[in-house]
Amino acid sequence: MYLLAIDWFFILEKFLLIGLIVTLSMVVAMYATYGERKVAAWLQDRIGPNRAGPFGILQPLADGGKLFFKEEIIPLISSKFLFILGPCLAMITALLTSAVIPWSTPLHLFDKDIPLQVADINIGILYIFGVVSLGVYGIMIGGWASNNKFSLLAAVRGASQMVSYELPMGLALIAVLMLAGDLRMSVIVNNQIEHYWHIVYQPIGFIIFFVCALAECNRTPFDLPEAENELNFGYHQEYSSMKLGFYLFAEYINMFISGVVMSTLYFGGYDIPFVNEANWDINQNLLAIIGFAVLLAKAFFFVFVFMWIRWTIPRFRYDQLMKLGWRTLIPLALLNMVLTAAIVLWFKK
């Protein structure tokens, strides 16, 4: 192949993969709303949505349809451009994160290995962090452009919360990177397949990461930016129709993606637990699909835990939130990082 030649097959393959992953994220987010309502109902001894279709599985479609047909209201004094930009940014950043996640082992089609990862860039995990940090702009711009003091308060809360919890999250992650020795997501997963899962070495790191993921996704007990009872739904109070839908959707996509990231970083990604699937004598494509299903199962479990926590505990007070972030999680993450570094150094010697 000569220089500057365009590999059309490569472009097509990536486009298909991107389309597939975006669709998957959307569908999962749609059904996460349904799942949330069902889980909430079950935990409260109720049945939940059960009218639209069998077991209510058409409920998300009905909700989506309703959102599309609602009146779009843009407040007169707000900045119209920013007002529309807010939910767009929230959605885009939520979807962008999935680009570096290795979904499974490569597929083998048309005499070619097709990796099930959009981009295996060498700064994989940093990329995720960068995009997740951008997510705060969706909230901030939305809250600012609403020209509503509750929305603005919520936006300020959201921004400071995200900034605070990104620090311990990053510190917890450094320990994982020291174990894997690379920022590449695929290397992190392969390292876990060859050795043990990172959760075995990094239980404290995982707990810190999990708590921070809750805070980053604005989930209970850290849902202060959209505290219904004190801020009237917070930053998306002035939003209606599908723009509101975008915010809610972005939240569920974030939840799903953080579930996937947690399984990838700490629970072996697409690795099937307790077996060595490399020794299996089965079709490579079949193995890839099984691995993908395993990853999804792990991610869904985390999504369930997120919901389970939401319907169990109340919200933190704002000072408690900041205290937990700065005075508990950051020192703990630092300690975890230093200890891991020392141990890694000890065994490498």
């Binding site: 079950w42 935990l43 001894d45 109720r46 389970w308 319907w311 169990t312």
Partner: protein
Amino acid sequence: MQLTQRAKQVERKPMTLLEKIYLWNIAKGMLITIRHLFKRKATIKYPEETRSFSKVFRGVQILNRDEEGRERCTACGLCAVACPAEAITMEAAERQPGEEHLYREEKYAAKYEINMLRCIFCGYCEEACPKDAIYLTQTFAPANYGRQGFIYKKEDLLIPDPKEDPEGYQKALGEKSSKA
């Protein structure tokens, strides 16, 4: 100033280390909620399932007939007088020759209305009736879109004819059959 004797001193002890970590207590709480996942659900899927009421439940009224299917009501107005919510109105009429198979006595209710929005289902009408003509059943008035729909006419209230529709008659009578 103490207003009641029920005031309780709130404990304001500082949190112990275990409580400060939060995780243990959160785990305990999550254990409680996950148990509810497997419990029997309290919901009754209403239109398909209906909850069973006790034998003495006072639901929507019916106007009774005798064994030959004749209306028992003589429009004496005692139920309307007894009604504390003033939900019952009626108009009396005289039975004409040839209508003996329709009405039990010489006088009958040409119009009989109960406003279900006013009715408080106290059962005083049933107590007041000297002719066993009105009963409270074990069903309740279903939802309606308009107020007018809640004013039940005589046709809505009358029990099915025991000769033409014995099944419907027994069903409408329900558990009251032993009493009648």
